[in-house]
């Protein structure tokens, strides 16, 4: 009988088909399929235009650099670390989903993305700080692999 994986820890202690227990250290690199340059499939997007994922030579962490549409061309958000990688429970080929976060002065942007059929589908959750009048903002866009950023 299927029961929810979100139930008590006793229930989850048993390995399941979808999430097999693996105590050994994962071999690197975890998110090989994600590494590279990705461009928005919508060339007219006014949100995130492109991003790059690269492996840090120092500690093998995955680093994300986002470029969005700006008033004067593309705006570089800077580099942030991909905090967590995820497997797709359908595709066991490796880690192909991730979350990352940017913290700006007036807003926090959480990026939650997964790969499907060669595309990365990325959702950006913009949460504004303080009692400002800006409303939380959500965008969900598709990115294809490209050779260079």
């Amino acid at each position: 009988m299927n029961y929810s994986l979100y139930l008590s820890s006793e229930k989850q202690a048993a390995p399941t088909e979808k999430a097999p227990a693996q105590s050994e250290t994962l071999s690197r690199p975890h998110g090989l399929a994600l590494i590279g340059c990705w461009a928005n499939t919508n060339k007219n997007s006014q949100e995130i235009r492109k991003f790059e994922i690269r492996e840090s030579p120092r500690d093998n962490a995955l680093l994300l650099t986002v470029h969005s549409a700006g008033d004067k061309g593309d705006k570089n958000w800077g580099e942030t670390e991909i905090t967590t990688l995820f497997e797709d429970d359908i595709n066991k080929a490796g880690f192909d989903a991730f979350v990352a976060e940017y913290r700006f002065e007036h807003q926090q942007v959480r990026l939650q993305a997964n790969m499907n059929l060669g595309l990365i589908i990325m959702t950006a959750l913009h949460t504004y700080k303080g009692d400002g009048e800006q409303k939380n903002y959500f965008s969900r866009e598709y990115f294809r692999r490209q050779s260079t950023i």
Binding site: M1, N2, S4, L5, K11, F86, E133, N136, F138, R140
Partner: protein
């Protein structure tokens, strides 16, 4: 008012311009009569962008009407949520999640506040994010309603990697 003399370049005939007054709708006349504020300018357009106060542009507060209520998983035997419910509790939308126990009975898993988001497609508040802290899994999810279907993308992080590896899943719900 000065008048212009217009010459027909073909016939050579000259005519003097006259003011053309479009016929006015009776209702419009009445409405104008009711208005106590008299305009000092004939310009009836909206004010230009730079003169509009900031509050004029602000979207309405997101109203997650589309989200509120019960949603059932299209996959009845899901190992995630079998049902979710959105409640409007004193200006704070909450998400109540249910799963199946080992006997196949529906049990409440947790209730958490959700953040409501807008987008650039004119939707007001049919998108959300939430975070659950279950005994062994921290689940961060976002979701949206499209064509009557609620889609959620769930990013699951195992607190103890002996119990499983982080995994992503997407689930679909229909309104109960």
């Amino acid at each position: 008012m000065s008048r212009l003399t217009i010459t027909n370049v073909i016939s050579g005939q000259q005519i003097v311009s006259r003011k053309i007054i479009p016929p006015r709708d009776k209702n419009e006349e009445n409405d104008q009569d009711k208005t106590s504020d008299k305009r000092t300018s004939a310009n009836t357009r909206e004010p230009t962008l730079d003169k509009i106060p900031v509050s004029y542009h602000l979207q309405e507060e997101p109203e997650p009407d589309l989200l509120l209520g019960r949603w059932l998983n299209t996959e009845g035997a899901s190992k995630g949520f079998c049902e979710i419910e959105f409640l409007d509790a004193s200006h704070q939308i909450k998400m109540r999640a249910f799963g199946l126990d080992e006997n196949g009975n529906k049990v409440e898993l947790a209730e958490v506040p959700v953040d409501i988001f807008s987008d650039n497609e004119g939707s007001t508040g049919n998108k959300f994010s939430a975070n659950f802290d279950f005994p062994n899994i921290q689940a961060s999810l976002h979701g949206w309603v499209k064509q009557g279907v609620l889609v959620i993308s769930v990013f699951n992080v195992y607190k103890n990697t002996d119990h499983g590896r982080n995994y992503f899943c997407r689930e679909f719900f229909y309104a109960a």
